[in-house]
């Protein structure tokens, strides 16, 4: 278990370090994910070393964004005044994204 956690937190730390040092607009966790993906594909990291721990994190990810989500309580009046643009954007963009992604893939098959 400790090897897996060390790998995952190690890549997280590395990603954060690069993001801060290079002043990047990409979150450190995403850089860590990209680097771990590269390490897996190139054989530097064996997936067996960290797959159990990674599965645990991925399986329970949804409980982790409840605290930031609940922060919406501070923006209730903003949402009220912006309800129309927000709803329209969510709805139309949902259709547009499904349509464009689906049709682009179908055309290429």
């Amino acid at each position: 278990m400790y090897r897996g956690l060390a790998i995952i937190f190690g890549f997280f730390f590395l990603g954060e370090f690069i993001s801060n040092a290079a002043d990047l607009m990409i979150p450190g966790s995403v850089i860590g994910m990209i680097l771990l993906t590269i390490a897996l594909f190139s054989g530097v990291v064996n997936p067996e070393w960290c797959e159990r721990e990674a599965e645990f994190f991925v399986r329970h990810m949804s409980v982790l964004f409840i605290p930031p989500g609940a922060g919406i309580v501070m923006y209730l009046s903003l949402i009220k005044t912006e309800l129309l643009p927000i709803s329209a954007a969510l709805f139309i963009s949902f259709f547009a994204t499904l349509l464009v992604t689906g049709k682009v893939v179908e055309v290429l098959r």
């Binding site: 937190f9 890549f11 997280f12 990603g15 954060e16 607009m25 990409i26 979150p27 450190g28 966790s29 995403v30 860590g32 994910m33 771990l36 993906t37 997936p47 960290c50 599965e55 994190f57 991925v58 329970h60 990810m61 949804s62 409980v63 982790l64 964004f65 409840i66 605290p67 930031p68 989500g69 609940a70 922060g71 309580v73 501070m74 923006y75 209730l76 903003l78 949402i79 912006e82 643009p85 927000i86 954007a89 969510l90 709805f91 139309i92 963009s93 949902f94 259709f95 994204t97 499904l98 349509l99 464009v100 992604t101 689906g102 049709k103 682009v104 893939v105 179908e106 290429l108 098959r109």
Partner: protein, 224 residues
């Protein structure tokens, strides 16, 4: 550190997950219900969000390792990346761009707030990544989290029907469209229909998470 925040978060999430596992209706989405209940509790008892958030900080911190861990499912689906590389690359690029640009343009056209536009931009990628991206492009991470979850619930509830109406029939196309549009919640729905669609949807989610977080800082210069 006061355990209040962790207790109500985990306690409520457990309760709503139990209900959801018995009655699988999209409206009972446990994450959404937990957020709404916490908002209600904070509101009713006049508890400041900072007090709650501070005591639940340890959970939020774990979003970092959770995002890094997404590399494992991405690696596992590598045979699909090889098999459909052209379609996946083109689909994620086109879909990822449309998701961001269409949402931001509609907010701008309807006279919406600039911060709202920044917050809605990453709404189609997985919540954990979207929160980090929102922070980087000066959006409101909390608003982003809720908009991402609503998008996911839409995908879970109606994505399949919408794709049927739009006559998207190919299983790779359906999977990728669902993953790119509605991340994990969409993937959880399409995987029930078809194994290949489910796997490709998971890939679409992970790859669009990477794609959107890399291009959004550049798009932000033009869009906002």
């Amino acid at each position: 550190m006061n355990p209040f925040g962790i207790f109500i978060t985990i306690g409520l999430y457990y309760t709503f997950s139990e209900i959801y596992s018995r009655k699988r209706v999209f409206i009972l989405n446990p994450v959404m219900l937990t957020i709404l209940t916490i908002v209600l509790i904070l509101h009713l008892f006049g508890i400041g969000y900072d007090y709650y958030n501070e005591s639940a900080r340890i959970l939020t911190f774990l979003l970092g390792p959770a995002v890094v861990s997404l590399a494992i499912p991405l690696y596992r689906q590598r045979e699909y990346i090889h098999r459909y590389s052209k379609q996946i690359f083109a689909g994620v690029t086109a879909g990822g761009l449309v998701a961001v640009v269409s949402a931001v343009l509609i907010i701008t056209l309807l006279g919406g707030d600039d911060t709202v536009a920044r917050s809605i931009a990453p709404k189609s990628i997985t919540t954990a990544i979207a929160i980090g991206v929102s922070e980087k492009i000066s959006g409101i991470p909390s608003l982003t989290a809720v908009l991402v979850i609503i998008t996911g619930i839409m995908g879970n509830a109606a994505g399949v029907e919408v794709m049927n109406a739009l006559k998207i029939r190919d299983r790779v196309a359906r999977g990728l469209a669902m993953g790119v549009t509605a991340h994990g919640l969409g993937t959880a729905r399409i995987i029930l229909d078809d194994e290949v669609s489910g796997a490709v949807s998971g890939l679409g989610m992970a790859l669009n998470g990477i794609f959107t977080s890399v291009i959004l800082p550049f798009l932000a210069i033009v869009l906002f």
